[in-house]
């Protein structure tokens, strides 16, 4: 898929995100907008996956685990736009009886989701388990994850980091949404992560860095990481992003982490995001 096509999808996904959260006056637009370009490239250009006939086991498919489950709006939109379920279902987000729970879940059987997430720090372990099963099954497809940067404050992440390097889980590509912001403020102030690159290198991982809003760079970096699979080390991509990317009044602050735009703000936001594929 060419860069312009991916940009068009990303623009529509961003529209979906702000409309979904605004409709129910809840949800997490900031991180969702920040990870839109990454998830668009991952699902539309990188992953080998079957969006029309979802099955839980995903044998011979690449798998994706969203560890920072609160950015469910972007994932739901990308899944729907990929064909996992009807885009009209996006209108049910966070409503009673919906398959699109506030945080991703498996109990309502939403196609595309293999693990509940929301309580932070767990997705890397789950992905490692799935990656180990792929090895047992002689399935050489890849397991991808996405994590928040604030999420790295959870201890379980580092248990998983030790395991993946020690046991050579080399069919795993993790990505960190390095937007530098968390609920209480800047990550640097709340609990600095120090030198993140050095930390992951010291833990024995291949480390990449990329601009999470440059479609070409995302694509190139993911392909480089894919080339290193099967070579004895897990890989992690430190992805620099802007929380709220694409909506000017949401950028540059942690304040839109978990706050939805009101009707007036929604109109302004939609004015900045081109409708490329038709709203749901």
């Amino acid at each position: 898929m060419n860069t312009q096509e991916l940009k068009n999808i990303a623009s529509q996904v961003r529209r979906d995100i702000v409309r979904m959260v605004s409709a129910v006056n809840s949800g997490h637009p900031g991180g969702s907008l920040g990870c839109t370009d990454f998830l668009t490239v991952l699902y539309f250009d990188i992953m080998k996956h079957n969006s029309t006939n979802f099955n839980m086991d995903g044998v011979n498919e690449d798998l994706f685990f969203l560890s920072n489950g609160h950015i469910s709006p972007v994932w739901y939109s990308v899944l729907a736009r990929s064909g996992y379920f009807p885009i009209a279902d996006l209108g049910t987000f966070r409503k009673l009886g919906s398959k699109l729970q506030g945080h991703p879940s498996t109990d309502k059987k939403l196609p595309g989701i293999r693990m509940a997430s929301g309580s932070l720090g767990q997705g890397l372990s789950c992905a490692i388990g799935a990656a180990e099963t792929k090895k047992l099954n002689n399935d050489n497809s890849i397991v991808y994850t996405l994590h928040g940067d604030g999420e790295l404050q959870e201890g379980q992440i580092w248990e998983a980091a030790i395991y993946a390097a020690a046991k050579k889980v080399d069919n795993l590509i993790a990505t960190i949404d390095y937007n530098g912001r968390q609920i209480d403020g800047d990550v640097e102030d709340v609990m600095s992560l120090g030198n993140l690159r050095s930390k992951w290198e010291a833990f024995g991982w291949n480390v990449f860095e990329m601009d999470g809003h440059n479609i070409e760079e995302i694509r190139t970096t993911l392909k480089q990481a894919k080339e290193l699979t099967g070579k004895g080390k897990p890989s992690i991509i430190i992805m620099r992003t802007e929380m709220g990317k694409g909506v000017d009044f949401m950028e540059g602050s942690h304040k839109w982490h978990g706050v939805a735009p009101n009707a007036e703000q929604l109109t302004i936001a939609l004015g900045q995001l081109e409708e490329t594929l038709g709203d749901y």
Binding site: M115, S125, L136
Partner: protein, 319 residues
């Protein structure tokens, strides 16, 4: 005279180890994960013969539970092994989200449960785990009575699709379940039929209840003993059938009163028929260092406690 054939003496954890090893031979989808307690959990035989399906995760239980949940994706049946304390309380949130809520086919196998872990003391003697696990939707809770039943249950739960908490222990105890008995999840075993009082027990307290039933028999009391190896889903039918006959019950377990088997039984009683119940369980207290049998005596979960509870509950029934 109440007679039971005894098939030797062994610890229930060894039943788990043998069951797991047998699964290794017969079910290629079974994988095992352990957090640095391979010997204590008796997982050595599985490790020796099926090293490619054994995952040593180090002292990192949260990662182990998350991994086990992930490993089900692609059809594996993961058995995790560590002490009961580190299998539950330490990783409650991981179990809640990735195993129970996500409804993954993970078998959480927990050894050294309760006071009978002994000398290590209260840091390791969990008495709240049944409660924590039974409160989780989708989670089945199994507490087998002896070595043979632990082995049978370990094998049987591989065929049950869904999360299971399997709880067993460290002390060497008599084996009284037949080696060829069939374990059915959710189906209680009526070990002794009687008419004066029902004793409902699980785990090590089933043997203690057999001892109590013999003493009570000498006192002219006719005991019905139910081995309630599955706490959840509880075999309500077997329980109500027995209570209709005896009209009083003693529950016996190596757990807190709060959250335990007795509490599950009490719920059935309050909803169906009001009969008196006595609880043989630990009453809102941590344990301490000591030998397993000393601790059972001190914390009143021993044979004489069951006898006294039975006499008391019969008196209440007749009052």
């Amino acid at each position: 005279m109440i007679e039971f054939e005894i098939f030797g003496n062994k610890d229930t954890r060894s039943g788990f180890g043998e069951g797991l090893h047998e699964l290794g031979k017969n079910n290629p989808n079974v994988v095992a994960l352990c957090a640095d307690l391979t010997g204590s959990l008796k997982m050595d035989a599985f490790l020796k013969d099926f090293p490619e399906r054994f995952f040593q995760v180090g002292i990192a239980e949260a990662n182990m539970i998350g991994m086990a949940a992930g490993m089900t994706i692609g059809g594996k049946i993961p058995y995790t092994g560590t002490f009961a304390n580190f299998s539950t309380g330490r990783v409650y949130d991981q179990i809640r989200q990735a195993v129970a809520y996500s409804n993954k086919n993970v078998k959480i196998c927990a050894s050294h449960a309760g006071l009978t872990l002994g000398e290590d003391g209260a840091t390791h003697q969990i008495l709240e785990d049944i409660g924590m696990m039974k409160m989780l939707p989708n989670m089945a809770v199994v507490v087998p009575a002896d070595f043979n039943q632990t082995k049978q249950a370990t094998i049987a739960i591989a065929d049950y699709e869904g999360p299971v908490y399997l709880r067993f222990g460290r002390p060497v105890m008599p084996i009284f379940i037949k080696p060829d008995a069939k374990f059915t999840l959710g189906k209680a075993d009526v070990l002794i039929e009687g008419s004066d009082v029902t004793i409902v027990a699980c785990g090590h307290l089933v043997w203690k209840s057999i001892e109590a039933a013999r003493i009570l028999e000498e006192k002219g009391v006719n005991v019905e003993l139910i081995n309630m190896h599955t706490i959840k889903p509880l075999d309500t039918e077997a329980l109500l059938k027995s209570l209709a006959k005896t009209k009083c019950v003693v529950t016996a377990e190596e757990h807190m009163i709060a959250g335990g088997l007795g509490e599950s039984v009490a719920q059935v009683i309050t909803r169906n028929l009001l009969v008196p119940q006595e609880f043989v369980a630990v009453n809102d207290s941590f344990g301490e260092s000591g030998t397993p049998m000393e601790l059972m005596t001190k914390y009143h979960i021993d044979t004489p406690d069951i006898v006294e509870a039975a006499l008391r509950v019969i008196q209440r029934k007749n009052a």
